[in-house]
């Protein structure tokens, strides 16, 4: 699998994501700087990491979503290339219009940094086929702006079309309908606030995130 991890000024999970992808796929991803206008030829997975791109100026993910490389990402996503956005990557995907809704300040105002329970709502996607339907897993979150909001019509549509990938099993950040991760309508773009790359090996405390990358490898390669 030929993957690419985007790097913005202020990204801080780019290396974690690259390590996870390499551990599972056996091939190190290309690290692509935000000012590049093109992705490496033949990229078949784009990963947008967590962090605080552009210092969260204006809104989390707002500046990154307008950076040169994102035009290439929008183009590739339109052609069906899988795009995974984790945490700030999820915020970037909503700001870029690749996913609906917005991620707002956590309802409790605090930065939340802890392992949280998730329920796998859709186990049929290329990202979640390593899990079973309704399975409960534990993945860490670390965010200040993870409160997912969209209008009721959008939320109904996401739910009706099976595009809610993960829901929190308890209260985390005030997200509408406890949404932790969503898919685009074609199913090739996933945005999620929890960090699967931080639950990859036994030393992390749990390995529930690993199957996301394994499932992706199986679906894509």
């Amino acid at each position: 699998m030929k993957s690419a991890v985007l790097v913005f000024p202020g990204s801080n999970c780019d290396r974690d994501l690259a390590v996870a992808i390499k551990a599972v796929t056996g091939r190190a991803p290309a690290m692509v700087w935000h000012r590049e206008a093109e992705l490496p030829e033949g990229t078949d997975l784009i990963a947008i990491p967590g962090g605080f791109s552009y210092g969260d100026y204006l809104r989390s993910g707002a500046m990154a979503a307008r950076s040169p490389i994102m035009r290439a990402v929008v183009d590739a996503a339109g052609k069906g290339v899988p795009v995974l956005g984790v945490c700030n990557g999820f915020q970037v995907l909503t700001e870029a219009g690749l996913l609906p809704g917005a991620l707002m300040r956590n309802a409790g105002l605090h930065f939340v940094c802890r392992p949280v329970g998730l329920r796998v709502e859709n186990s049929q996607s290329i990202f979640t086929n390593g899990y079973s339907a309704s399975e409960e897993i534990t993945i860490p979150v670390a965010h200040h702006d993870g409160n997912y909001q969209a209008d009721a019509e959008t939320l109904d549509r996401l739910q009706g079309e099976g595009r809610v990938a993960f829901r929190y099993t308890g209260e985390v950040n005030g997200s509408a309908r406890s949404i932790a991760g969503i898919l685009n309508d074609a199913g090739n773009v996933l945005g999620m606030m929890p960090h699967p790359e931080r639950a990859l090996e036994a030393a992390h405390g749990n390995t529930d995130g690993r199957r996301l990358f394994e499932g992706l490898l199986e679906a894509v390669a």
């Binding site: 204006l58 809104r59 707002a62 307008r66 909503t94 700001e95 609906p100 809704g101 917005a102 707002m104 300040r105 956590n106 309802a107 409790g108 105002l109 409160n147 909001q149 969209a150 005030g174």
Partner: protein, 77 residues
């Protein structure tokens, strides 16, 4: 030409920051505050030929996230 863009959360969108400010005001003993909503003010210094349509496009494309925010443009000479 200067323009001021006011970005505010849409009515009904939960504003945790406004809530926190409200609590802090109450903590300081200011009663009688029914609600607080926090927003942003962005000042643009523009060349005189800038059209209204351009300013509006700036708001829609970047300055406001119209999923959750409204914007108001105020032009000054």
């Amino acid at each position: 030409m200067k323009a001021r863009v006011f970005v505010t959360l849409k009515p009904g969108v939960l504003d945790p920051q406004g809530k926190a400010i409200h609590h802090a005001l109450e903590g300081l003993g200011f009663g009688g505050v029914a609600d607080v909503r926090a927003g942003k003010l962005i000042e643009l210094d523009l060349v005189d030929e800038t059209s209204d349509a351009d300013i509006e496009a700036m708001c829609r494309k970047l300055l406001a996230n119209t999923v959750i925010e409204n914007f108001k443009i105020e032009k000054a000479a």
